[in-house]
């Protein structure tokens, strides 16, 4: 994984999200998205440390995770647009993007839910003799969900090869982390006997390095690791905020947060020429992807309940 690869990923996510926001505005994407802008280094760094047989779970703010894991951007755009060619055939939308062929067990719209799913998947893979490591993403808000804390316990008890990646962007919607998380984020994981580290979530290289050692631990049977990645959400909690007047962050704070931009941090590690090349490459990729998505078919409403059951004969 070169600096250039990491840059490509963060740049891809950034530009994907900016285009997705445009598609929300233009009405091509119904209902809006939770933009990942500002947090790209985390997805890029974590996924760069994973191998092909590994699995991830994602969140409501999940486009970055699945892009970093290598999904076809055309199929992600198509999913956001509810098209049949979407990752989930248009059935999932922004909060459920999944690609099981890449080990993406799905984004999850319930905060704190996916940690235990990832833990179960990693345990099951190991029990079947596979060398799988799971990485599960969640926000600072999820640290207050009991079901996630329960998952820490299972993972620690059974030495499950899972990496808990907390993206601490300072807020759960409008709730500041200091008003929501008593004690400290890493202490919560450490209390379960899980090694917990706080890392700079704006720097893809740092995230990659930390994840690499966590993957090493997991693969060698040493169990879970917890990574708190400090970061900042540059944009709205959700695009609905572009229309609502929610005041919970000062403009000074937002500017300060934006000043440490993962795209710039990683971009600065490339020559201007290389960077321009990657930028052009990403733009071409996304132009093509958006075009494919916009051109692809809408699913047939008659098949609205397709895939509801594994055995379709259930329905009356």
């Amino acid at each position: 994984m070169t600096s250039q690869d990491l840059y490509r990923t963060v740049r891809l996510i950034r530009r994907f999200e900016e285009r997705a926001i445009d598609f929300v505005r233009s009405g091509e994407i119904d209902g809006g998205i939770h933009p990942y802008i500002g947090q790209e280094a985390i997805a890029a760094g974590v996924c760069a440390a994973l191998g092909p047989s590994d699995v991830i779970t994602s969140t409501h703010r999940g486009h970055g995770h699945v892009l970093a894991r290598g999904v076809n951007p055309a199929r992600l755009f198509a999913e956001l647009m509810g098209r049949e060619s979407g990752l989930n055939k248009g059935r999932g939308g922004s909060m459920h993007a999944a690609d099981f062929s890449l080990g993406i067990l799905g984004a999850n719209a319930i905060v704190g839910a996916a940690g235990s799913i990832a833990t179960g998947a990693a345990w099951a893979a190991r029990r079947q003799g596979r060398d799988t490591v799971a990485a599960t993403f969640f926000g600072d808000g999820a640290m207050n969900e009991g079901m996630l804390l329960e998952a820490f316990n299972l993972a620690a008890l059974w030495q499950v090869p899972v990496i808990f990646v907390c993206e601490n962007n300072g807020y759960a919607t409008t709730m500041p982390v200091e008003s929501a998380v008593a004690g400290s984020v890493t202490a919560r994981a450490q209390a379960f006997g899980i090694p917990g580290f706080t890392i700079d979530g704006q720097d893809p290289e740092k995230v990659l390095a930390a994840t690499k050692s966590a993957v090493g631990r997991a693969r060698s049977g040493k169990g879970p690791t917890f990574l708190e990645c400090t970061t900042y959400r540059f944009d709205a909690h959700h695009t609905f905020e572009h229309r609502a007047r929610l005041t919970y962050r000062t403009t000074e704070e937002v500017s300060a947060g934006r000043s440490r931009d993962p795209v710039e941090i990683q971009g600065a590690r490339l020559t201007a020429v290389d960077r321009a090349d990657v930028d052009a490459e990403v733009e071409a990729l996304l132009d093509a992807a958006a075009g494919i998505a916009l051109g692809s078919a809408h699913p047939d409403p008659a098949a609205a309940l397709a895939y509801l059951y594994a055995s379709p004969e259930v329905m009356r």
């Binding site: 119904d30 059935r91 719209a109 319930i110 207050n144 919607t173 409008t174 929610l246 409403p301």
Partner: protein
């Protein structure tokens, strides 16, 4: 004056906070009023009365039960209908059961409000449930107002009620506006339905946003000379069976439109009551979500899974033709 449904909820909360110091609100992002339901209330009543919670639904639901046991009247706002699944134990197995299990030593006057229940454009599978039938089944008082005036009046009654009450504010109704004189806003008793439109040929039972679909269908059919009575029970549990019986005694034909799944949903209960107690001239019909429904993201698919006006009109024709 125009009163929107959302503003009606907001006004009910503000009025109750003002008149009763034991009322307080808790929930996620209610200080910033992300859903708009609590707009201005933090500024007016302060942090002791409008309590922003961490994402800890189970604990804060039981916290409200504890606060109720200690003499307060908590109102919890839930951002998403499926959060009620997450706190099902806390409502159904704790709050609901305390009174009987303690031999009447206590009351648990907690109100659970879900603004934007049912399908919301783009929110997909895990955010589009409408689980009012579940709460009716377990016997928790359950309210689904259709209009701004009812939203106001039923929410006020829910807060004043000494038992737990769940209030669903369907996203499909949030945009509705009433032309009302604000001074006439008043509590609406739980358990009493209303005739949303009088008619003689078929009784259509509808709740929440579907009342408006039923009214539209009635308009459409009136041009064909079909006279529809729209009965809005307002409260799913307890159900106004007498009001329903009165309507059906007149029309002798019954269709229910219901935004829950078919099996053992609200419509099933209405049909069961009909089977037991009513004399009908044709078998009744229900228009519901399909069994096991998970709402797909793509908008046309999401719509295809919800009960709609076309199906309602078809069902009305069916009960008119049969027998």
């Amino acid at each position: 004056m125009k009163l929107s449904y959302l503003k009606a909820l907001n006004r009910a909360l503000g009025d109750e906070l003002a008149v009763d110091p034991s009322v307080f609100l808790l929930g996620e992002d209610i200080r910033a009023a992300a859903s708009n339901v609590t707009a201005g209330l933090y500024e007016r009543f302060g942090s002791d009365r409008v309590l922003d919670t961490p994402l800890s639904e189970q604990a804060f639901t039981n916290f409200a039960t504890g606060a109720a046991l200690a003499g307060l009247r908590p109102v919890i706002e839930f951002q998403i209908p499926s959060l009620l699944f997450l706190v099902f134990e806390q409502i159904v197995n704790q709050a609901h059961k305390f009174s009987l299990m303690t031999g009447g030593q206590c009351k648990v006057p907690v109100t659970y409000v879900v603004p934007g229940s049912g399908s919301r454009t783009g929110w997909a599978g895990q955010h589009s449930d409408h689980p009012y039938s579940l709460f009716a089944h377990v016997g928790v008082k359950t309210v689904v107002p259709a209009t701004p005036s009812d939203a106001y009046g039923l929410l006020v009654s829910a807060i004043r009620d000494d038992d737990p009450v769940v209030v669903f504010a369907p996203s499909g109704a949030l945009g509705v506006r009433d032309d009302v004189d604000f001074s006439t806003l008043a509590p609406v008793p739980l358990g009493v339905g209303r005739i949303a439109r009088a008619g003689t040929d078929v009784t259509v039972v509808a709740l929440g946003h579907l009342v408006h679909d039923a009214l539209a269908a009635a308009d459409e059919l009136s041009s064909l000379g079909i006279s529809i009575e729209v009965f809005d029970p307002r409260t799913v549990y307890p159900l106004d069976v007498d009001g329903l019986a009165e309507s059906v005694a007149k029309t002798r034909r019954l269709v229910v439109i219901d935004d829950s799944n078919r099996t053992s949903g609200f419509a099933a209960e209405v049909l069961a009551v009909a089977a037991e107690r009513f004399d009908l001239d044709a078998p009744p019909r229900r228009v519901t979500r399909p069994d096991g429904a998970v709402l797909p993201f793509a908008l046309a698919l999401d719509r295809a899974v919800q009960p709609g006006r076309d199906q309602l009109v078809t069902a009305i024709h069916a009960v008119l033709e049969e027998r």
